[in-house]
C-alpha cells in the first residue's frame, strides 16, 4: 500500500526484498511452492534463514551504536514485515533473535552488549528467549526454573523453559530464573545462557511441538539440570529480572506488529489477485462493488495498522518512557485489526482459501494459521489489554487535560529528528500517559487548517473531529470504570480495544499532519474512516470511502466470460 510519511526506513528492508524476490524467482528460498512444502513437512526454513543472514538481517537486531542498522526499531519492523509478507513462519523463526537479545540491550553491561553484538553480527548467532514454562502461560512469577549461586560465584540453573521458539536451534537463550525461593517481583533474575559452553549432561533440548500454524518453526524447549553458568551471564542485577523483561517486552511487542502487517499484506495480495481473475456474472469479481468494498476496507485496515505500527516503533525512540502504554496498544490492536481483515478476505476467497495446494500453493490458509500465533505469543491480546487497563486512571486524566510530551511527539512524528533508541529510558509505567492519543485534539485542529487550505480532503477534517470526540468519550469511560486488579471485567477490555483503535487512528492523524503527510492523504483518510467503523457502531462511511485504495484491473476484461 501507499507509503506514509514519516516513511519506513528503506535501507535493509529494500535489500531483503530484492534478495528474497530474486531467490524466489529462481526456485530458491521464499518460492511459494517451497514455502508450502516446508509447512507441509513441518520443516525448519534453513535456507530462508541463511539467505536473511547473508543479507545482514541480524544487523537490525543490534543497536546502531554497536554496529546495527541506523534506522532503529522502525527499520527492524519494516525488515521483518518484508519477510512476513512472504512467509510469517520465517519471520518468526529469524526474528526471535531480536527477542532473545533485547534484554541485553536493556539491562546488560557495555561489555555484555559488545560481546552479544559481535556474536550476532559476525556469527549470525541465534538467540532464544526463555520466559514461559509448562502450565504458567504469561504468569511469569509462577516460573520455577531456579538459579542458585555457588561459592565460586558461578550460577547453577535447574528447570525447564517450554514452549520456546528456537530453544533447540538457538546457541544462546535469555533465561528468566527464580533466584529467590520465595519468588515475587524481586525474586527473578535474567541470564544469557550460551549453550555451546554448557557441560554435557547438564542440558537437554525438549522435542519440537507440533503447532496449528508456523509449523516449520522450532517451537521446543530446554531442560537445564544443575547447569553451571558463569557469573558474567547475569544480565542486570540479581532480582532485576522481571523489570528487565517487562521493559524488553515493550520493544518486542511493538516489533511483533511486523508479523501482522506482513500477513495482512500477503492476504490482501492473494485476495486481489483472485478477485481480478475470478469471472462471474459476465464480469470480474474485482469489478463488483461489494467485493471492492471488502478489498478497499481491507486496504484501509492495513493502512490503519501500518500507521499504528510505524508510529509505535518511532515512539520507542521519541517517547521511550511511554512505551508501557504504546506497546500494549500496538501488540493488542494491530493483530486484532489485521485478523479481522484476514477473516474478511478469507470470505472473499471462499474455497480457495481452504485448499492447501490447488490455489496459490495454499498460501492463504497457511498465512491464516500462521497469523493466529501473533495474538498469542509475547503476551496475548488479553494480557496487553490488562496492561492498558491498569494504566487507565492516568491515561484518562491526561487525555482530559490534553497534556502531552510535545518535544517527544515532535520527534516521533518527524517534525524533529528521531533520536537513537535509549533503552535506559524505558519505564515500567508511563508517567506522561500516551502523548499520541492525548494530542488528538491538537492534531485535529491542524487538520482542519490543512483542509481549509485544501491540502487534505475535507473528509479527513471531519474524521479528525469525530476521532477527537471519540477520545473524549474514551477518557470518560476509562475514568468511570472502577479500578480493578488482574480480574478486570469484560467491559474494561472493550474499552481497552477502543483505546487501541484510538491509538491507531491518532497515529494516522499525526502522520497526516506531519511534514509531507498530505502525500499519503488518501490512504490515511481511509484509515481514519476504518478507525471510525471500529470505534462507532453503525458508523456508515461514504460509499466511495475505500474505493481509491482498490487498484483497478491490470487489463480490461477481454474475453467474453461464459
Amino acid at each position: 500500500m501507499t507509503a506514509v510519511v514519516p516513511e519506513w526506513p528503506a535501507g535493509l528492508p529494500a535489500v531483503l526484498a530484492d534478495a528474497m524476490t530474486a531467490a524466489a524467482a529462481t526456485g530458491g528460498p521464499f518460492g511459494v511452492s517451497r514455502s508450502a512444502a516446508l509447512d507441509a513437512a513441518e520443516a525448519f526454513p534453513e535456507q530462508e534463514c541463511a539467505l536473511l543472514d547473508a543479507c545482514g538481517l541480524p544487523r537490525a537486531y543490534v543497536p546502531a551504536r554497536l554496529g546495527g542498522v541506523p534506522g532503529g526499531l522502525p527499520e527492524l519492523l519494516h525488515a521483518l514485515r518484508e519477510v512476513a509478507r512472504r512467509d510469517v513462519t520465517v519471520a518468526v523463526a529469524h526474528g526471535k533473535t531480536f527477542l532473545g537479545a533485547v534484554s541485553t540491550w536493556v539491562a546488560g553491561t557495555e561489555q555484555q552488549q559488545r560481546a552479544l553484538a559481535r556474536l550476532l553480527l559476525d556469527e549470525n548467532a541465534v538467540v532464544a528467549w526463555g520466559l514461559t514454562e509448562r502450565g504458567i502461560g504469561s504468569d511469569l512469577l509462577a516460573g520455577s526454573l531456579t538459579a542458585v549461586r555457588g561459592p565460586d560465584r558461578e550460577w547453577r540453573l535447574t528447570g525447564e523453559k517450554w514452549p520456546i521458539n528456537n530453544a533447540t536451534r538457538g546457541r544462546l537463550i535469555s533465561v528468566l530464573a527464580r533466584t529467590d525461593p520465595a519468588g515475587g517481583p524481586r525474586g527473578f533474575s535474567l541470564f544469557l545462557v550460551d549453550k555451546s559452553t554448557l557441560a554435557e549432561g547438564t542440558w537437554q533440548p525438549l522435542p519440537k511441538e507440533p503447532t496449528h500454524g508456523i509449523r516449520g518453526a522450532d517451537i521446543s524447549g530446554l531442560r537445564l539440570s544443575d547447569a553451571p553458568i558463569p557469573a558474567d551471564a547475569l544480565i542486570g542485577k540479581v532480582g532485576d529480572g522481571l523489570g528487565t523483561v517487562l521493559r524488553a517486552l515493550q520493544l518486542t511487542r511493538t516489533v511483533c506488529a511486523a508479523l501482522s502487517l506482513g500477513a495482512g499484506e500477503h492476504a490482501l495480495r492473494l485476495a486481489h489477485e483472485f478477485a481480478a481473475e475470478r469471472a462471474l456474472y459476465d464480469t470480474r469479481l474485482l469489478l463488483l462493488p461489494l467485493a471492492r468494498r471488502v478489498l478497499g476496507r481491507a486496504a484501509a485496515s492495513l493502512a490503519l495498522a501500518d500507521a499504528a505500527a510505524l508510529l509505535g516503533a518511532r515512539c520507542a525512540h521519541g517517547l521511550t518512557g511511554e512505551m508501557s502504554a504504546v506497546s500494549a496498544a500496538v501488540k493488542a490492536g494491530v493483530p486484532w485489526i489485521v485478523q479481522q481483515t484476514i477473516d474478511d478476505l478469507a470470505e472473499l476467497l471462499g474455497a480457495r482459501g481452504f485448499l492447501t495446494a490447488h490455489h496459490a500453493d495454499g498460501m492463504f490458509q497457511k498465512l491464516e494459521r500462521d497469523h493466529r500465533i501473533v495474538a498469542v505469543f509475547d503476551g496475548s491480546t488479553a494480557v496487553n489489554r490488562s496492561l492498558l487497563i491498569s494504566q487507565f486512571p492516568l491515561l484518562a486524566k491526561l487525555i482530559r487535560t490534553g497534556t502531552y510530551d510535545a518535544a517527544g511527539l515532535a520527534a516521533t512524528t518527524g517534525e524533529t529528528p528521531l533520536p537513537e533508541l535509549e533503552p535506559a529510558a524505558l519505564r515500567l509505567v508511563s508517567r506522561t500517559g500516551c502523548s499520541v492519543v492525548q494530542a488528538v485534539p491538537e492534531a485535529a485542529a491542524r487538520i482542519a487548517a490543512l483542509a481549509g487550505a485544501g491540502s487534505v480532503p475535507p473528509r479527513a477534517a471531519a474524521l479528525a473531529v469525530l476521532l477527537s470526540e471519540q477520545t473524549v468519550a474514551l477518557a470518560r469511560d476509562m475514568a468511570e470504570l472502577p479500578p480493578s486488579a488482574r480480574n478486570a471485567p469484560a467491559a474494561a477490555f472493550a474499552v481497552a480495544r477502543r483505546f487501541e483503535a484510538c491509538f491507531a487512528g491518532a497515529a494516522a492523524l499525526h502522520l497526516l499532519v506531519a511534514p509531507g503527510g498530505t502525500e499519503s492523504a488518501v490512504a490515511l483518510t481511509a484509515a481514519l474512516e476504518r478507525c471510525m467503523e471500529l470505534l462507532v457502531p453503525g458508523h456508515r462511511p461514504p460509499s466511495d470511502a475505500y474505493e481509491p485504495l482498490v487498484p483497478p484491473l491490470a487489463r480490461p476484461v477481454e474475453e467474453p466470460v461464459r
Binding site: L141, G184, S390, P393, K397, R427, V429, R431, S484, R486
Partner: protein, 91 residues
C-alpha cells in the same frame, strides 16, 4: 481516582497508610478494614504488574516521582508507607 486538587500539604505515615489502604481496597473491591497493611499486596490479587499502577496514584496525590519498582521492594502497605514517608518529607 484522586485529583491533583486534593493533594495534602503534609503527610504523616498514618495518613499515608490509610490512604494507601483505601486505594488498594478500591482496586480489589473489598472494604478497607479488610486490608491488612502487613500482608503482601499479591495476597489481595494485586500482582506485580498491577501494583505498578498504584504508583501513578501515589505520584498524583503527593506530587512526587516514585520508581515503580518501589512497590516491588516494599510489597505491603506498611513497609511501603515507611519507605514513602522520607520521600514525602523531602518534597
Amino acid at each position: 481516582m484522586s485529583d491533583i486538587t486534593d493533594r495534602p500539604d503534609t503527610a504523616d505515615a498514618e495518613e499515608l497508610r490509610e490512604w494507601l489502604r483505601g486505594c488498594v481496597a478500591e482496586y480489589v473491591r473489598r472494604p478497607a478494614e479488610d486490608i491488612d497493611t502487613d500482608l503482601p499486596l499479591s495476597e489481595y490479587g494485586l500482582d506485580s504488574v498491577y501494583v505498578l499502577s498504584l504508583c501513578a496514584d501515589i505520584e498524583d496525590r503527593y506530587g512526587i516521582e516514585v520508581e515503580p519498582t518501589l512497590l516491588w521492594d516494599h510489597p505491603a502497605i506498611g513497609p511501603l508507607a515507611d519507605a514513602l514517608t522520607p520521600l514525602l518529607a523531602g518534597r
